[in-house]
C-alpha cells in the first residue's frame, strides 16, 4: 500500500492513479495528522509526502515517523524550489525528493526502489 499525503486533492488523485497503474494500492490523506491517525492500523510500504501541508508540515511528520512504529520510506514531492528543506529532508532519511510536476516513470521507479530497499532492511 502506498500512502499519499498532499493537501492538493487533484495531485493526490493523480499520484493515486499512477500508483494504481503500477499495481500498488493507493491511500490518500489530505494532512499529516490524518495520516498519523490511520498509519498504526495500516503501515504503508511507502509514503509519498508533500513538503508543505496545513498544520504539521512534511518535515515535521518525517521527524515524528523516525521514532515511530509507522516508520516507512518517504518520497517527498514539492512544487517549491526550497534547497534548505530538500537538504533537511534527505538528511532526515528521505528516500528521494522529487519536484512537481514530476516524471511518472521516475516517481514509480522511485517508489519501487524505496519499497525494495525497505524490504531488504537497508
Amino acid at each position: 500500500m502506498v500512502a499519499i499525503v498532499d493537501d492538493e486533492k487533484a495531485v493526490c488523485r493523480a499520484i493515486g492513479r499512477l500508483v494504481m497503474s503500477a499495481g500498488f494500492e493507493p491511500q490518500i490523506f489530505s494532512s499529516a495528522e490524518e495520516f498519523l491517525r490511520s498509519c498504526h492500523e495500516h503501515r504503508p510500504d511507502c509514503l509519498i509526502l508533500d513538503l508543505r501541508l496545513p498544520g504539521m508540515s512534511g518535515l515535521e511528520l518525517q521527524q515524528q515517523l523516525a521514532t515511530s512504529p509507522c516508520r516507512t520510506p518517504i518520497v517527498f514531492v514539492s512544487a517549491h524550489d526550497d534547497p534548505p528543506s530538500r537538504e533537511q529532508a534527505l538528511r532526515g532519511g528521505a528516500f528521494a525528493f522529487l519536484s512537481k510536476p514530476f516524471n511518472d516513470t521516475v516517481l514509480l521507479e522511485t517508489i519501487h526502489s524505496a519499497i525494495c530497499r525497505d524490504h531488504r532492511g537497508e
Binding site: 487533484a10 488523485r13 492513479r17 494504481m20 503500477a22 512544487a79 517549491h80 519536484s99
Partner: protein, 479 residues
C-alpha cells in the same frame, strides 16, 4: 454669559455677523451700521420703528428708543406690545428702554455731543455686560433747532466714524419737511445710507462714500474669489499629480516584488500541472493494462480538464497583475529613470551582495516614452543580472549600467558578471515563458522586449568577453 432668552452670547457672534434690520428695504446689516430715515408721517415712522425694534428684541439686542414728536412713549409701548409676541417678557426684563429726545439730547438744557456719545457708549457697554448681542438704537431729531444743526451734524459724523467696530446698529430719524436741501445733504453725508418714503414706498438712498466702499468690497471679493479659484485649481492639479505618482509607485512596487510574486505564482501553476501531467500519464498506463480501467481513466480526464481550467485562471490573473494600467508617452530622461530604479531596487541589490556602477552620459537626449514601462524594463534587466550572479562565488558580483546617445538614438546597457547565457538558451531567451530558472516565470525579457519594440527601439544581448552578459536597448530620441 447668556442673554435673557438663552440666546447665543456675544462671544459666540462676530462683528461681521449680519443683523436683521426688520426693515425690508434695508435687509440685513452688520454691526456698526449707522443709517437714517426721512419720514413724512407719524404712521410710517411708528410702523418702521416698531418693525426695527421687533427684530432687535427677537435677536437678543438691547434696544434704546429715543423718541420725539410726533411719537410718544405710549405710542412706542403700545406699538411694540401689539406687534411683538410676548413683549411683556421683554419689557419686564428691561430689554428695551424708551427715552424722550429732549431728555436724551438736551440734558442740562443744551446739546453736548460728547455727553450724548458717552451715553450711547454706556448703553452699548451695558448691553454687552448684560449678555446681549449688542445695541439697537434710534434717535429722533424733531427737537433739533437750527442753532444746533452744525453741532449735531458734527456729532452725526462722529457717530458715523466711531460706530464702526462697535456692536451697535443706530437709526436716526429726520422729519422730511424739516430738512431743506442743505440739511438733506448734511444728513445723507453723515450716515452710511439713508431711507425715504417716495411715492408711498420706502427707498434707499446710498451715500457716495458707501457706494465707493461697496465697489471696493466687491472688487476685493472678486479678486479673492479669483485667487481661491486659482488656488483650488492648483491644489486639484497637485492632488492629481500625487495620485498619479502613488499609482506609479504602487505599480513599481508590484514590479519590484515580481520575483516573490512569480515564485508564489509558479507554485500555484505547478500544482495543477502536476495533476494534469500525473493524470494524463496515469491514464495512459491504466489503458495499457490487460484490463484497461476505463472508468478510472474517465475520472482522470475529468481531473485534467478541471486542472487545466484552474491553470488558465492563474495565468489570467498573472496577466492582469502585470499589465500596465495605462500608457502615457512623455519626454523621459533615461538617466533619471535609471537612478529611480536603482533607488527602488537598492534593498534587493544589497540583499544579493551586488555592487552597482553607473556610467551615464552627462548629457543624454530625452526619449518619448512611458516612464513607468521603461522603469519596468530597466528593473527587469537589473534583476536578471542580479539573479545571474546569484551562484557566483569566484569573483565580485558587479553590475554596470551605461547610457549614451547620438543624434538619433539613446543607448542603455546593463552588464553583469554572472553565469552567462549559452548559445542554445540564447536563441530562446526572449520567448514568453522560457526560463532557465526553476522558479522563473519566463515573462520578464519577453515583456521587456515588447515594451522596447513598442517604443521604436531594440533589445539585444551579447556575452561579455570575460564573464557574464550585457543586455542593451536602444530608443529613438524624442523629436
Amino acid at each position: 454669559m447668556e442673554g435673557p432668552f438663552g440666546m447665543a452670547t456675544p462671544s459666540m457672534t462676530s462683528m461681521n455677523e449680519m443683523r436683521r434690520s426688520g426693515i425690508s428695504v434695508v435687509g440685513d446689516r452688520p454691526w456698526g451700521t449707522h443709517f437714517c430715515n426721512f419720514y413724512e408721517s407719524r404712521k410710517d415712522l411708528l410702523g418702521m420703528l416698531v418693525s426695527y425694534f421687533k427684530a432687535g428684541l427677537e435677536d437678543n439686542e438691547f434696544c434704546v428708543w429715543v423718541l420725539s414728536e410726533p411719537l410718544s412713549e405710549k405710542d412706542a409701548w403700545e406699538g411694540l406690545r401689539e406687534a411683538v409676541p410676548e413683549f411683556d417678557d421683554y419689557a419686564s426684563r428691561r430689554s428695551i428702554e424708551v427715552f424722550d429726545g429732549r431728555d436724551w439730547y438736551l440734558k442740562g438744557g443744551a446739546f453736548d455731543s460728547s455727553r450724548v456719545m458717552t451715553a450711547w457708549n454706556e448703553k452699548i457697554d451695558r448691553a454687552m455686560d448684560r449678555g446681549y448681542a449688542g445695541l439697537r438704537g434710534t434717535g429722533n431729531t424733531a427737537w433739533l433747532q437750527n442753532k444746533d444743526w452744525k453741532a449735531f451734524s458734527d456729532y452725526e459724523q462722529l457717530v458715523n466714524d466711531s460706530v464702526v467696530g462697535r456692536r451697535a446698529v443706530l437709526l436716526c430719524t429726520y422729519a422730511l419737511q424739516s430738512c431743506g436741501a442743505n440739511e438733506l445733504l448734511d444728513v445723507v453725508g453723515t450716515h452710511q445710507f439713508a431711507m425715504a418714503m417716495r411715492h408711498g414706498n420706502l427707498e434707499l438712498i446710498e451715500t457716495p462714500e458707501l457706494k465707493v466702499a461697496k465697489a471696493e468690497i466687491k472688487k476685493m471679493n472678486d479678486e479673492l474669489e479669483s485667487r481661491v479659484h486659482q488656488r483650488t485649481q492648483e491644489l486639484e492639479a497637485a492632488n492629481r499629480k500625487l495620485a498619479q505618482a502613488q499609482a506609479e509607485l504602487a505599480h513599481i512596487n508590484r514590479v519590484v516584488t515580481i520575483g516573490e510574486l512569480t515564485a508564489s505564482i509558479a507554485h500555484e501553476i505547478k500544482q495543477p500541472l502536476a495533476a494534469i501531467v500525473g493524470n494524463a500519464k496515469a491514464g495512459v498506463r491504466l489503458l495499457d493494462r490487460p484490463s484497461p480501467d476505463t472508468e478510472e481513466v474517465k475520472h482522470a480526464l475529468a481531473d485534467i480538464a478541471e486542472q487545466g481550467d484552474r491553470a488558465a485562471e492563474i495565468i489570467s490573473r498573472i496577466s492582469a497583475q502585470m499589465k500596465s494600467v495605462k500608457t502615457e508617452k512623455t519626454a523621459v530622461d533615461i538617466n533619471e529613470t535609471v537612478r529611480e530604479v536603482i533607488a527602488l531596487a537598492h534593498r534587493e541589490l544589497e540583499n544579493h551582495g551586488v555592487s552597482v556602477r553607473m556610467e551615464l552620459a552627462s548629457t543624454l537626449a530625452p526619449v518619448t516614452g512611458d516612464r513607468v514601462q521603461l522603469q519596468q524594463v530597466i528593473l527587469n534587466l537589473i534583476m536578471n543580472g542580479v539573479e545571474a550572479m546569484d551562484l557566483v562565488a569566484s569573483h565580485p558580483k558587479a553590475l554596470l549600467i551605461e547610457s549614451e546617445s547620438d543624434r538619433s538614438k539613446v543607448f542603455v546597457s546593463v552588464r553583469d558578471s554572472g553565469m552567462g547565457v549559452d548559445a542554445e538558451n540564447g536563441k530562446r531567451i526572449f520567448e514568453a515563458f522560457f526560463t532557465t530558472k526553476p522558479q522563473g516565470m519566463g515573462m520578464g525579457l519577453a515583456i521587456s522586449r515588447s515594451i522596447i519594440e513598442e517604443h521604436g527601439g531594440q533589445l539585444t544581448f551579447s556575452p561579455n568577453s570575460d564573464q557574464g552578459t550585457t543586455f542593451r536597448f536602444t530608443l529613438p530620441c524624442a523629436t
